[in-house]
């Protein structure tokens, strides 16, 4: 197995791990972290494809690599936007809950 295949397979697992965290973790900030892990898995698969496209004296296909740079920057912008939304949610409701019903008082006390 080549190194890029190994890395691509691991990246598939990263997507799965991130997806699991996104569903299971109740706190929105944990969901943001998990979503970033999931996104990075997608990026790494794409990066492995770029490496497979090595040709013409280049060690990797530059087109997907350039798109990856764009993608990482946009992912940061989206994360910053989400965190700002989250902080505003807490500021206005006092809770970070995404549940349809606000949690009961004894739930908060725990």
């Amino acid at each position: 197995m080549t190194v890029e295949t190994l890395i691509a397979l691991a990246a598939c697992a990263l997507v799965g791990i991130g997806l699991y965290g996104l569903i299971v973790q109740p706190h929105p900030l944990r969901k943001v972290v998990a979503f970033n892990v999931m996104g990075s898995g997608v990026f790494v698969i794409f990066g492995a494809l770029a490496r497979r496209g090595a040709a013409a004296g280049m060690l990797a296909d530059p087109v997907p690599q350039a798109l990856l740079i764009t993608a990482i920057v946009v992912a940061f912008a989206a994360t910053a936007m989400t965190v700002a939304l989250l902080l505003r949610l807490i500021e206005s409701t006092g809770s970070a809950s995404l549940a349809a019903e606000p949690p009961s008082a004894d739930g908060e006390a725990r």
Partner: protein
């Protein structure tokens, strides 16, 4: 030997990913995520993406990590309540099955990839001399796929407007975050005085070197933004007020110049974002230099967040 190193890096990466997802509290998860980002940049080096590795270390691990760490501090009180909302065993089992299913499908796709791999590298290598830049990534970002980069710059500005618009009405136009106050004789203040001159030189070097070597405006902008954040963190300079005119001009100058160059191309080269022959390199330099203030300001201001106090304190 190389394969063994790759295997160890990959296993560590997977372990850290699991750690960030199952960690006991958000602080541990974010710390794990920062380490994960740094390790990920090693993976990018393994995939021969030096430019991507630089951006991953700077933005993926660095800026995103710092942003999340800042949020953790302000969200402390809400974690206990969230813990009581933990989904039941049924949901967890379903999530596990779904995640495993997605992973298996992706693995099958990766194993079924076509041989030989499709690639645009030969075309890029053939056309690169016409752009006058030596780094193929810069060539792709600012010549072959310049439209993507233009739209990305616009997305960044829109994201910033989105963050700003989350300000409560009474603070609109004010300064984001709290004014930091560090010990003026402390280590942090010392660093904030010593590091920026070096950081500014490194940042501008990365911008210039990006034409022919790994680097470029994004990597450069991240370092410059980090220097500014450092100065803000010690209270040596306050966060800028959102209403400031120079600030807003700096935020939009990059996309505006980019669009202007694109329209100029319509006239001189017959195509939006087309560069007239022999003028590609100067055009690319103009765009890169104009994008730099936009990127520095947007990255730093996204870190600062929504306005939270009035200009007059």
């Amino acid at each position: 030997m190389r394969a063994v190193v790759s295997l160890v890096v990959v296993l560590l990466l997977l372990w850290l990913a699991v750690w960030t997802v199952v960690a006991r509290d958000a602080f541990l998860a974010v710390v794990g995520f920062i380490a994960y980002g740094l390790l990920l940049s090693l993976v990018w080096v393994r995939l021969y993406g030096i430019d991507v590795a630089l951006i991953e270390a700077a933005i993926g691990g660095g800026l995103t990590g710092a942003l999340l760490l800042g949020a953790v501090g302000r969200l402390r009180g809400t974690e206990a309540a969230a813990r009581s909302e933990r989904p039941g065993a049924g949901t967890r089992a379903f999530a596990m099955v779904l995640s495993l299913g997605v992973t298996v499908v992706l693995v099958l796709c990766v194993l079924a990839l076509p041989e030989p791999a499709p690639t645009l590298a030969p075309q890029a290598a053939q056309e690169l001399p016409a752009t006058g830049v030596g780094n193929p990534i810069t060539g792709v970002l600012l010549a072959f796929r310049a439209l993507d980069t233009l739209l990305e710059a616009i997305v960044l500005v829109i994201a910033l407007i989105g963050v700003w618009s989350l300000a409560p009405d009474r603070f609109w136009g004010g300064r984001p975050g709290l004014r930091h106050d560090a010990d003026p004789d402390g280590v942090l203040a010392y660093f904030a005085r010593v590091l920026p001159p070096i950081g500014i030189v490194v940042g501008i070097y990365l911008l210039w070197a990006g034409a022919d070597h790994p680097g470029g405006k994004f990597q450069s902008a991240t370092i410059l933004a980090a220097m500014w954040m450092l100065v803000q963190m010690t209270g040596l300079a306050d966060t800028p007020a959102v209403a400031s005119r120079w600030l807003r001009a700096g935020v939009v100058v990059g996309p505006l110049v980019f669009v202007a160059v694109g329209l100029l191309g319509l006239w001189t080269a017959g195509d939006f974002l087309g560069y007239p022959p022999d003028w590609a390199k100067p055009m690319i330099v103009v765009i890169e230099v104009a994008l730099l203030p936009t990127l520095v300001l947007v990255l730093a201001l996204l870190m600062n967040g929504a306005p939270a106090r009035n200009v007059k304190r």
